[in-house]
Symmetry: C2
Subunit: 248 residues, 2 copies
């Protein structure tokens, strides 16, 4: 049995949690022109899972999601929103967790609460890839980025959860202005366009994209970014934080 974790501990933990409720986070990042998703590789198996957790009795569901995200990425103050509740009767074989425990030498009775039905609250987060310090949880051996078009097979309905999260992100990208949460503080219009093209899976006309973005009036133009390339240097932009606010 691995150190620091016993069936007794699990029972104590259970008492402090909201029963039947779980949280799954689809953490989006952007790197190398790819939209990435954080996934955990479960110890001693070939299974992957989304960062997730449970809701404590003394915290709100949104607080729980922020805590999960902080534990896996080290980030606070991130864009994080509910997008769907996954509450099918059979969301996939709940025994996957049992397999994981067995693979790690932990015997837990079949009727343990962990293997009961959970309704999962789906959250999606938009983070600055470069700021993330990804950290596996105690069941996982690693926590890494995967291209959203090439995700490993994940437990339960986690692949479907990512699909739904991406749909929501596409919707919100047109609707609210949330895209730049995936970029560093300073970015060029070219980088922003590449981000939009990746998420929407559609090519955009550069000049028109630039016109539209700048007409929003939410960007502050900073110094030029000397790229070293043999051509005109693009300006860096920053979102004027006074203009927008992402709160719970």
């Amino acid at each position: 049995m691995p150190e620091g974790q016993s069936s007794l501990d699990l029972l104590e933990i259970w008492e402090s949690l909201m029963p039947s409720l779980s949280i799954d986070c689809v953490v989006f990042g952007f790197h190398d022109g790819q939209l990435k998703v954080l996934a955990l590789k479960l110890k001693n198996t070939e299974q992957y899972a989304l960062p997730g957790g449970f809701v404590r009795k003394d915290e709100s569901v949104n607080e729980a999601a922020h805590r999960v995200l902080r534990d896996r990425t080290g980030l606070t103050d991130i864009f994080l929103e509910q997008f769907y509740v996954f509450g099918e009767r059979e969301r996939g074989d709940q025994r996957v967790h049992q397999e994981v425990f067995r693979a790690n030498g932990v015997e837990i009775p079949d009727d343990h609460w962990l293997f009961q039905r959970f309704v999962s609250l789906g959250y999606y987060a938009l983070v600055d890839f470069s700021k993330v310090r990804s950290t596996p949880d105690w069941l996982s051996e690693s926590c890494d980025w995967h291209d959203h078009r090439d995700l490993p097979p994940m437990i339960l309905d986690h692949n479907a959860i990512v699909t739904k999260a991406l749909e929501t992100l596409r919707l919100m990208l047109d609707h609210k202005l949330v895209g730049f949460n995936l970029l560093p503080e300073k970015f060029t219009m070219g980088e922003l366009q590449q981000l939009y093209e990746t998420i929407l899976d559609k090519e955009l006309v550069r000049s028109n994209f630039q016109r539209k973005m700048l007409s929003l009036g939410i960007f502050e133009r900073l110094e030029k970014k000397m790229t070293g390339a043999a051509n005109k240097a693009p300006y860096l932009y920053r979102v004027e934080l006074n203009t927008l606010r992402n709160k719970d």
Copy 2:
């Protein structure tokens, strides 16, 4: 103690339910040029509540919401969608239910599951006002429509839930095409416009509204509606069901 319901029954019911999860439905209807919301008047109190319920262990959360809606309105096959999870630590005084029970002569211990913390899944429904046969539940003396701008004080955070539901409806009205779910099968463009104006709280230019709606190409023009008024009779329209589909 009222017939048909005892503490023992409640315990049995409890065993069949997903713990800590509840469902609240904001049922929108349209009548007399007003956007209406269904609310229950709790027996022997001046408190109101949204139609709601719990999730059975053998049904999905969406099925649970449909069941709640069927029980309160008699309707199946309605537009019903999740819009938010209300999971604050203190969503208001959970003892309101206790008050209701006391007012009805039912003593339930303070530590009963009904008074514990619940996370509520918010659903909103769009229904044909004329088709609803509103039916109170066993805790309520009536189930009636209220103008959305003049709702009675409701328990817990139910007033806030309605506000959030209305925001979602406004968003979806622009985005998807869901408005006509609030109208009878056949309707005039004038009626549809009045509906949009009420929901969006904004006047629209008739000719432009008509042009936009008809350009969607989802309406089938039927016979004229002879209103009896001394002017040109408007056509009735129906949504071509082949074109659109609302599924879970």
